[in-house]
Symmetry: C2
Subunit: 315 residues, 2 copies
Amino acid sequence: MSVFTSVTEPDLAAWLQNYAIGRLEQLQGISAGVQNSNFFVTTSLGRYVLTLFETMPRSELPFYLHLMAHLARHGLPVPAPVANRDNEYLGTLSGKPATLVSRLAGRSEMTPSVGHCARIGAMMAGLHLAGMSFGRRQPNPRGAEWRRDCAARVRAHLPPDQQAELDAELAYQAGVDLKALPQGVIHADMFRDNVLWDGDFVGGVIDFYFAGHDALLFDVAVTVNDWCAAADGGLDPARSTALLAAYAENRPFSDTERAAWPAMLRAAALRFWLSRLEDFHLPRAGEMVLVKDPDEYRQILRQRARATAMPALPA
Amino acid sequence: MSVFTSVTEPDLAAWLQNYAIGRLEQLQGISAGVQNSNFFVTTSLGRYVLTLFETMPRSELPFYLHLMAHLARHGLPVPAPVANRDNEYLGTLSGKPATLVSRLAGRSEMTPSVGHCARIGAMMAGLHLAGMSFGRRQPNPRGAEWRRDCAARVRAHLPPDQQAELDAELAYQAGVDLKALPQGVIHADMFRDNVLWDGDFVGGVIDFYFAGHDALLFDVAVTVNDWCAAADGGLDPARSTALLAAYAENRPFSDTERAAWPAMLRAAALRFWLSRLEDFHLPRAGEMVLVKDPDEYRQILRQRARATAMPALPA
């Protein structure tokens, strides 16, 4: 469950008086999400989502909120932060940093088709293109440096065979220069459960709280690893091809990116193997983290390192 | 019909390459609106409306587009202009100033209930509250000065009894000081056909091209005159009361506004009697204006001047 801090209707009704969206009609907790408390809020003028930030420092939030606002302003289906009467996105409610965003239509699709994957490729390219005119910067919080540091933290908790695999992958990745690839703002966590579908259209991409600047191709790799994985962790050729072709139609890949693609799929797999290992072995006090199986991403990393039948980036 | 300028699919597809919303999938003309050419545009990432401005000067458009963007950013259901990759809302297509906005859900309701009128009151208050932090200014293009000038233009075309009515109303309005009332950005044309309904919710308020700064109460009067009129032009008490109560719940009326209310209903009726007389007697060359019956608003003005059973503004 994901309501760690409670909000009363009178408190919310009073808080909403500094907005222009009418009167509170309904407040309902949402049982999804692992870092924040989320609520559906209905007013006389519409349907919104209220988020109370439980663990993220207030100073880090403007980057994410302004990024979502920027992408929404470019016509992309993402939650649009709602400005209050002081023109601010961020307020305080029940003692926590709090924001309202537009409520998006649709639900997640955990068994995506080739058609879904094509839409996702177009959506990711749209995020990358619109992000190029976004003025704020922060590094990918799960970038290369974090991966090295996290590996050092979790290594001692692993059996010898996994330590060897981790060492080998770190040595391989040490030779990869992500900085040589086209850079930009990346979502960095566009998994199937972070996308809502409204019929055949992307109704919304949510959860921008891992976004930052890094190689755009790293974002593509994170997404392909999740959306196009077969049961054995290998890549489904039809779904991978559809996602990459739709992306390239909107932002063509460079030669440097084509050369770096196999390494980038491995870097993206490593990032999630590591975070899942850390959540499993080193859970943080006071955080309600939904622990996901690290072995799923160990297996995906093995498959990417094997690299048989790897779909190439389109020319 | 409302496609005065044609747009080809190849031209639009090329134009969309400076946006981040994917590839063109469908282009369809819209047969509504009298000043601009409008099209439904579907891309791989969503559904939008394309507007080509046929008669409005390019220099006047940023006020309207930034106003819509400001209101959308405050969580209100209005068309949100889509920024292109240069971060601009306004471009050029088929030789005309052109903009893309989000496509809103719903359809107009020409026989509104008491419940609809309450939503409209809340929506209008939301527009006025959010508008207070909008930085750009332009006067109401159909304000008191325009009404005097327009009366001078149409007077000679009227029969003597209507000239006498017009003279009497102008003399009455000359004693009314709109500047003494709370001011702000007003929509100024929130008629039933400019509101889309998404179930019980306002899906969207459209057509901001008469917006400007004026007495907020003038906007309320324009809206009440349209949404709450009975068949004889008189005000339906239940609908009027619901609209005004919902407005006041979000922005309470002042004593000055309560005193000015009957005069404001007449000023708002006069504005539409005049513009309809002008469209009828002095049609502008090259504009395809849908001529509406001036007598409907002459009758509404008579009813407001009579002022029997006038619903008062809530205390």
